[in-house]
């Protein structure tokens, strides 16, 4: 990292939660609906302080429904939760997906199953997020793996939610949102407010009529000139409920296509390749922090190692498969026992040269990654 002159430094101590909330507020999210859960406590606290409107909801289903109401009337709402709360939100997340309502849900993972250990970190909800929309359609999911990511991906989440009219999940975990780290805030990129364009024609408004990029234009419910219809049921471009009709199914199939078509807008990953390296370390979220340190250490030891940190989880960019395909030995590092990212990238198959580095109930250390890679190198 380039050294910054002391005069340009504004060093602070901060946790990821603060950066996430601040970045989202700057990007134009304006409403925070909160229901408390560990380890999303700081996100809640900051959300309540920072957003122009902040409201305490009585439960997580209400949270998502209130958010949907705010989103339908032109706001950009945010909430923060963890698996037990997210589980309650699932039907409503599907609703918001179908209604094409912009919002951001921060899901700070903790140790499960069920209530598990509230104060224990984990990266255990990847497969849940992958399959959370009925039909198997991807729900846009971004995953920060550093303080800088907490800032940038949170702003990106808001922008993407608005531009693509979709709920976005920021998948994070306890250590990312609670650990304090020093940071020179002058290194953070400027975050501009998302520009919202509204439907402006005189012609009757069709709330689900796709534009060129497959995203429909938006008008808030309550508009003075046009009737606005939104619905969770299979519907046509006018928002009229359909049975299994062609117009209805076409609209449903547009939802994943909308993300695919615009995938370049929200694809973020970190690829640090070393010439001639045969080892690739793949990680995300807090485990990526250990992976970065392990790669630096391996290189000092002259063990060739490349690093892929995935940040856009769903829809999963095709680039990840290209990268992993180029390496003979791939080490997937994640804080869960099942190797969830490995399952996503490689399926359930045994693959020669695929090595999983997993742990639950504790963070993975750089040392164990180095050891595992060295023992196979």
């Amino acid at each position: 990292m380039a050294a910054t002159r002391a005069s340009e430094q504004r060093n602070v101590l901060t946790d990821g939660s603060r950066l996430m909330i601040e970045a989202m507020a700057r990007a134009g999210a304006d409403t925070f609906i909160g229901y408390p859960i560990t380890p999303a406590n700081l996100l809640y606290l900051y959300g309540m302080r920072r957003f122009p409107v902040s409201i305490a909801a009585p439960d997580e289903i209400t949270t998502l429904q209130w958010m949907s109401g705010f989103a339908a009337t032109g706001h950009v709402p945010v909430t923060a939760t963890s698996f037990p709360g997210f589980a309650l939100m699932v039907e409503s997340v599907n609703m918001a997906y179908m209604m094409e309502l912009p919002m951001v849900i921060v899901q700070a993972q903790r140790l499960g199953p069920s209530t598990g250990t509230a104060t224990g970190g984990a990266m255990g909800d990847l497969l849940l997020l992958r399959g959370v929309i009925s039909g198997g359609y991807p729900l846009l999911t971004l995953c920060p793996s550093s303080l800088e990511d907490c800032w940038e991906l949170s702003a990106l989440a808001v922008r993407t939610a608005v531009y693509l009219r979709t709920p976005v999940v920021l998948l994070t975990s306890k250590e990312m949102v609670m650990t304090h780290q020093d940071l020179n805030v002058n290194t953070l990129s400027a975050v501009g407010r998302v520009k919202r364009s509204l439907y402006s024609s005189e012609a009757p408004f069709e709330p689900y009529l796709p534009q060129e990029n497959l995203v429909p234009e938006f008008l808030p419910v309550g508009d003075e000139r046009h009737q606005v219809r939104i619905t969770a049921s299979t519907h046509d471009s006018r928002g009229i409920i359909q049975g299994v009709s062609r117009a209805g199914l076409e609209n449903t199939l547009r939802l994943p296509k909308k993300l695919e078509k615009n995938v370049a807008d929200f694809t973020r990953y970190e690829l640090d390749e070393e010439d001639g390296a045969e080892n690739l370390i793949v990680s995300y979220d807090v485990a990526a922090m250990a992976a970065r340190e392990a790669v630096a250490c391996l290189r000092r030891q002259k063990t060739g190692a490349s690093l892929l940190v995935v940040k856009t989880l769903f829809p999963t960019p095709a680039a990840y498969l290209d990268v992993v395909g180029r390496y003979g030995r791939v080490f997937v590092v994640e804080e869960n026992a099942q190797g969830q990212l490995a399952q996503i990238l490689f399926g359930g198959d045994e693959r020669k040269g695929l090595h999983l580095i997993n742990a639950i109930g504790r963070m993975i250390t750089p040392e164990e990654i180095v050891e595992k890679v060295s023992s196979h190198g």
């Binding site: 957003f51 309550g222 250390t365």
Partner: protein, 431 residues
């Protein structure tokens, strides 16, 4: 009467279904108020009543079973114009699965109206009993009659604080009550007790709606709370950036530290462990170091252990894991209990309050120090970190002292005295 709010009078409910009457009464009520279709948002959900969605000229939202009430509350709170009417159509099934949302909206008095189509069963799915099915009322899935007893939805909503509640039994012209509900600021609910010809009448031949309703105590009622204040969303005019609230830690001196240094501090809740950690981290940043800190404490924050992990480094810290600390500093028995997990890996120094014994567990012999005795329990953690600094080259003790002096703790801590004490205790270095 020309229709304004419905596109057709032929709404496709079964012949004789009272849902049609509710739609027509809603049309008439809105006309009475003199509002325009785009002044109205009608939220429907799952159930036969929801079929009305596509026949409405208002703004329409078709949501989830029973959650319609909550999305409508969100819409109300999100709408800038308080004159817009937000109306929810639910069935008895929706009202009971969404009861929590009704109570939540009623006790906040969110300005909206819930119109409950209570035909005492689930029509859309084949006539199953709901929580509002009266005892003895037969449904296709309960030919012997429901064993539940239903409940007084209006009474419940009234006691939750709703501005307006009314119950209508049967059909007829109830547009007056609906208009009153729509007009009333705050939360209103109108329950229309009706019967589903396809399942209710078929399974209970000859039964009269008024008889069942009377037997159940579901008699017409109306309740108005003229003093009810409707919920208003508070908007902060100029929320302050969360980055503005952070202390900028300008560097004042340099640390000679040339490696990653990991410290674990163990103490008890209420004894200032987290504050001591934060100030220590601030001082380290001021000395040009990179720092991470992590708190560990039970969910009951006021009792038991309170520990922290601190990493200092001249380089940017990538991984925040602390497995084998370079210094383990423990100032209370609670802290020791939690910190046992580090003992096996411990390769660095082990500072322990002299009052605590660890027996054979430690690989490294602890340096027993009178942290608690010298500084008192509430300053023991702070003091122990001072001793660590006095004993090592991590960063200058004076920097820590300076940060403490300027902190909120400042006045209450005899900083100079503790610095002196720390230097004295540290002089026994290497013993």
């Amino acid at each position: 009467m020309a229709r304004q709010f419905l596109t057709s009078k032929d709404v496709p409910f079964c012949k004789g279904c009272s849902h049609a009457g509710i739609a027509l009464n809603t049309e008439a009520a809105l006309q009475k108020l003199g509002v325009e279709p785009l002044d109205v948002v009608i939220v429907t959900d799952i159930g036969c009543h929801g079929i009305i969605d596509k026949f409405l000229t208002t703004h329409t939202v078709h949501g989830l079973h029973g959650r319609s009430i909550a999305i409508a509350a969100g819409i109300r709170m999100g709408l800038a114009d308080p004159e817009k009417k937000v109306i929810v159509f639910v069935g008895d099934g929706g009202a009971t699965i969404g009861l929590k949302h009704i109570i939540a909206a009623a006790h906040r008095n969110i300005d909206m109206t819930v119109v409950v189509h209570n035909n005492m069963l689930y029509g859309m799915t084949g006539g199953q009993p709901s929580d509002l099915t009266p005892a003895g009322f037969r449904t296709p899935t309960m030919a012997e009659g429901d064993t539940g007893i239903g409940f007084d939805l209006c009474g419940l909503v009234k006691s939750a604080g709703a501005a307006y509640v009314s119950r209508i039994v049967g059909s007829g012209d109830f547009s007056g009550q609906l208009a009153e509900a729509f007009r009333m600021p705050g939360f209103s609910l109108v329950e229309i007790v009706e019967i589903c010809p396809s399942y209710g009448v078929r399974e209970n031949p000859g039964v009269k709606l008024s008889n069942i309703a009377e037997k159940m105590g579901l008699t017409p009622m109306e309740s108005i709370r003229p003093d009810a204040k409707s919920f208003r969303v508070r908007r902060k005019e100029a929320p302050v950036s969360l980055l503005d609230g952070l202390d900028v830690l300008s560097s004042s001196s340099r640390s000679a530290l040339d490696r990653k240094f990991r410290i674990v501090l163990g103490g008890s809740a209420g004894e200032g462990v987290q504050v001591a950690t934060r100030l220590f981290a601030e001082a380290a940043v001021r000395c040009g170091l990179h720092v991470t800190t992590k708190g560990n404490y039970p969910v009951t924050v006021g009792v038991g252990y309170s520990c922290s992990e601190i990493i200092l480094s001249p380089e940017r810290i990538l991984s925040t894991v602390v497995r084998s600390p370079d210094a383990l500093v423990v100032v209370s028995p609670d802290g020791m209990e939690f910190c046992r997990r580090y003992l096996e890996q411990l390769e660095g120094e082990f500072y322990l309050d002299e009052s605590i014994s660890v027996g054979e567990a430690a690989r490294t012999a602890p340096r027993a120090k009178p942290f608690r005795k010298r500084a008192g329990p509430r300053r023991a953690a702070l003091f122990a970190l001072m001793v660590l600094l006095a004993d090592s080259d991590v960063f200058p003790l004076e920097e820590y002292a300076e940060v403490i002096r300027h902190s909120k703790l400042g006045e209450g801590v005899a900083v100079d005295d503790l610095v002196g004490g720390a230097r004295e205790l540290a002089s026994g270095r290497g013993k």
